[in-house]
Every structure is written in C-alpha cells, then in structure tokens.
Symmetry: C2
Subunit: 322 residues, 2 copies
C-alpha cells in the first residue's frame, strides 16, 4: 500500500487528460492553462495549513493572509502570467477569532491588490485546523513555458537568493529565535511576477519553475518533466547572506529547505548573451548555477568536485513539522 | 467579539470590490463572474470537510469525490453556466489510504466528465481532517442572473423535491438507518445544469440561487440580495416522498435541512405562461411555492394561514454535527 505522504503524489493521482483542445497544459506544472475561444488562463491552487506549513505565532493573521496569496502568485510568475482573480477557501476552528479572520482576509486583499488581482469569491467551513486555500487565475502570456522543455547543454539560472525562509523555520522548530532577515523572508515571499513575464516573453528560456519545495526538489521536477538531468555547482548557488554565516548544515538547508519562491529557469547556450541584456528588466538578480545534462536526476557538486547527498530532496508535507 | 461561526460570515469578510471592469459579479452570489476581453467566466469554490459535512462511513471515497464536484456544479447551474475546468485541493490525514484517495479523485473525474468538465490541477496538503475543496470554472451564459433581481409580485419556483438528503443526515446522526432514497439523495446531488441554462437563457427569471443550505435560508439570501421579502405556502413545497411519510418534524427538516441542490428562482408574473412552455426543456419538475413581497425576510405559512417559526434557517457549518 502506497502511503498518502509519498512525495509528488498529487501528480500521480491527477488524471491524464485526454484530447481536450481547451486544456493547453494539464496537471504537473506550476499552473494549468485553460482557454475558452481566444484567451488562455493560468489557474493554480495552493494551501497553507496550520501545523503543517506554519505555526500560529510565526505570522500575524495579516501576514498569513498575504503569504497565502503570494505563494500562489509565485506559481503564476513561474509561467510568465499576470495574477488577476482569486477565490479563497477558509477552514476555521470555531475558537478562531473573527477579528483575526478579518485580518487574514485583509492581508489577502492587500497582497492581491499590490499585484493587480481581485478577490472575487470564497467559502468558509468549520475545521479543526486553520487553513487558507487560494485558487488564483492569471492571464497567460502570449507563449507558454512549463517545466518541460529543458535540453542537455541548457544553462540553469536562479533569481534572488535561497535558504533564508527555511532557516527561520529550522530555528523556530528548534526553539531558537531566527534573525529578522530570515523571518521576513519566511513571512513575505516576493513572487517574481515581473521577472517571470520578462523571461517568458523574451523567448530566451526553455523551461521554468518556482522554487517552493527546495532547489534540489524543484529542479528535480524540471528534470523529470523534461527527461533530462542537472549538474549544479554548489559554489555558484546564491545562498542568502543570513545563511552564509552558519555552518555547513545551513547550506544543505538552503538546497532542500523550500519556501524561497524564486524562479529557476533553463536557458539554451546560444541565448546567454541576450539574457544578460534582459537583466535590468527582471527587477531582481539572476545567477547561473549549473547545466542541464543527459541522464536523470539532480547532482550537486562542491568546489572539489565531490557530490553532495540528499536523503530528502525538499519540503515534504508529511514530514513532521509540528 | 463576533463569532467566526456567525452565519453568512464569509460574505461579510470578503471585500467590497471597487470598480473593476473585469469583475462583473463579485462575492455574495453562487459564483463570481470574471472576464478578460470578450469572454465571461463563472468561478466558484466549495469544500467538504470530514466531521463537518460528512462522516466517513456515510459515503464511499468515490461517492465523496463525486459529491465534491457536484455541489460545485450546482453553483454553476444556479447562474446558468456550463462547468468547464476544476482544481482540487485535498487536505489528507497521514493515515488515509492512498488507494482511497485515488478513488476520491476518480469520483471527481467521473462526475466532472459527465458534466463536460476537466480536472486541470490540484494540490495536496497534510491535515488532521480529510477535506476536499474544489474550485470550478464555468462558461457564463450570454446574460447574467444572480440572487439580486427579485421584485415584489414575482412568483417563486423550485425545481425537484427537497428534504431527502437532510433526512439521511438527521437519521444517521441519531444512530438510525436512513432509507435508500434518502441516502442516495445525500450521496449524489443532481446539479440542475440543464435547467439552470434554460432558465437563464430564457430571460424569464429575475433571480436564481441553488438550495444548498436549506430552502428558508437560501430564499433568505435572495430576499436580502434583492431587498425584498418572500411569502411561501407550506402546502406547495415539493417535499420528497421519503419525508412525507414522517411526522411534522420532517417537513421542518425539509425547509431548513440543506443539501438539496435544487434551483430556486423568481419569475415575474407576466412570464408565467412562457415558463410553462419551457418546462420540457428543464429536464426536471418545477413547482411554484410562493411569491416575493415588499418588506423583508421569509415567511412560511401553512394551510390555515399560520406562520411557521424557524429558530435556525438552515445548515450552519458551526452547528454541532459530529
């Protein structure tokens, strides 16, 4: 009997779609892409569940609302889209204060508003755990870019820095007090909407994903969807400054910790010069971290050429985080 | 301090939308209506939570999946739309068997397929309670019909019969064994997609809603949104045969029990003859049960003219149903 907790399970139970001309991209990517005559839409759903994704004292209700929206916007960014409409489903314990729920909702609305989206509907159910599930619809760009499309020889790029949010979680779970930089990063992801649009519209990239479950795991999704492998150079990974002061374990955390919400994309070698010229339009730094290879799986090597091993590639919802 | 459980709370915390030309109908109706240049979409979200909306032995996993989809399709039907795309969010306890989750998903897909819709994406999170949240996108009809629009003098109509699903729940909760007819009705709602389309496209109706929380409560939503009252004749209400054999309390249950997923609509008096001619196109019976009035609130009167009192208008997620 397979366990429900087995990683990646949602993809394995979602159906293989038959030939529907109105579904351009089905399950297995950051967003599905649907269209009705003419216009294509990106659609995505993601959830934050108390005790699984956060503890109540890690975020204020408003911050929780903002983050619920922002992590969905990151999926839209990963396919080069523009967030437009969202629906919110709340699971709420009877003891949760209504004033706090209003704050959660205000946080969702403020984040949506900043990115040009509107909250158009919702549902509220009683539940034992607080949870916020947001479905976000985004305008699709004029061309589609998914996780599938990376080719051997393509260079792997990553926006921003990684590791800080995972560090905050790691320290909270061990009873520590994370630094302000780490906490801010956990609380307020910065979905790379502008960079996502620019990268997709530029036609310079062959695949893209957002890094939500950890670099190694999410790059693994690209490799699997594209039928390729990846070679990553540890020294090139833009580890967040707050993690760099810490021992080696922080590096490992940065690679597998998750919640970074940066963009990971692959660029054919002949596009590298043009990518340089695009950098100013991205609104964030972008770094080359490795190369797509023949074969399969993600290999991370240090400066001496030694391969790092990961027992567990990234954030697993069924790992104990309570 | 307001309690989270206060009825109708979701509407009160969802934002009043400013002037966005791309949002035709915002929160407070069965679906929101959004559009991108040209085409309008209905979007809705609804959730089934174990211990709140069902107990595990009331439905097989496949039936649970089907019902999760069908209750959303009912919201699309209530606005005359055609279900098209859905996203599924699962909250799953670690002990839940993956084979059962596959059956839930198969149930969703089978129901979606029967109604012409595709499951295009999803998300799975660990949770203490089993829950299935579905966001459904539907094609909007060429005109919009919401809960707002009922006028004094309009006649109130209801499709099908009501009360059987609530009877099953009532009997299960008291340790009884509901009859097959009641159980089937609870397990497999029949969203009135065909009737909803025909009613909206006919332009004969002034408002519509689906009866999911109980007739009195849902008619109350129409009254509130339209700024009117309603006068309902008890004798005219199409109570399900399985409830008719039971004492008076079953009638009360039929009016306030919920989970009927029938359509309730209002029809200006001058359209009544044309509505008769439409009946064959609906695919289900439709009955006149009362009239919209000046004033506010829903009044149900028996054959002697005596008014029935309801402590509690319908299904409340925060009432104890465990």
């Amino acid at each position: 009997m397979q366990e429900v907790g087995e990683f990646g399970f949602i993809d394995s139970i979602l159906p293989k779609l038959g030939k529907r001309r109105d579904v351009l991209v089905g399950p297995g990517h950051d967003c599905a892409v649907v269209r009705s005559p003419g216009r294509a839409w990106l659609v995505t759903v993601d959830s934050l569940v108390e005790g699984v994704h956060f503890k109540r004292h890690w975020l204020s209700p408003r911050q929780l609302g903002r983050k619920s929206f922002l992590i969905n916007a990151s999926d839209i960014a990963a396919m080069g889209g523009q967030p437009r409409f969202c629906l919110v489903n709340f699971g709420v314990p009877p003891t949760y204060r209504s004033a706090d729920l209003v704050r959660v909702q205000a946080g969702i609305v403020s984040a949506a508003d900043e990115l040009g989206a509107a909250v158009v509907g919702g549902n509220l159910s009683q539940a034992t755990q607080l949870s916020i599930t947001i479905t976000l619809l985004g305008e699709a760009p004029s061309r589609l870019c998914t996780r599938a499309g990376a080719q051997p020889g393509d260079q792997i790029f990553l926006t921003g820095t990684i590791g800080a949010a995972a560090l905050a979680v790691h320290q909270w779970l061990r009873g520590g007090t994370p630094s302000g930089a780490a906490v801010r990063r956990f609380r307020e992801p910065e979905p790379r909407v502008r960079a996502g649009k620019a990268l997709v519209e530029s036609r310079l990239i062959s695949s893209m994903i957002d890094v939500s479950d950890g670099l190694v795991q999410d790059l693994g999704h690209v490799c699997k969807a594209s039928g390729v492998g990846a070679h990553v150079e540890l020294e090139r990974i833009p580890i967040a400054p707050v993690c760099r002061k810490l021992p080696n374990s922080a590096t490992r955390l940065a690679l597998s910790g998750g919640e970074d919400y940066e963009l990971l994309c692959t660029v054919p070698a002949h596009n590298l010069t043009r990518l340089k010229h695009l950098q100013a339009a991205l609104g964030c730094p972008i770094h080359r971290i490795g190369e797509i290879t023949h074969g399969r799986g993600v290999k991370v090597v240090d400066a001496t050429g030694k391969r790092l091993r990961f027992d567990h590639g990234g954030f697993d919802h069924f790992a104990s985080r309570r």
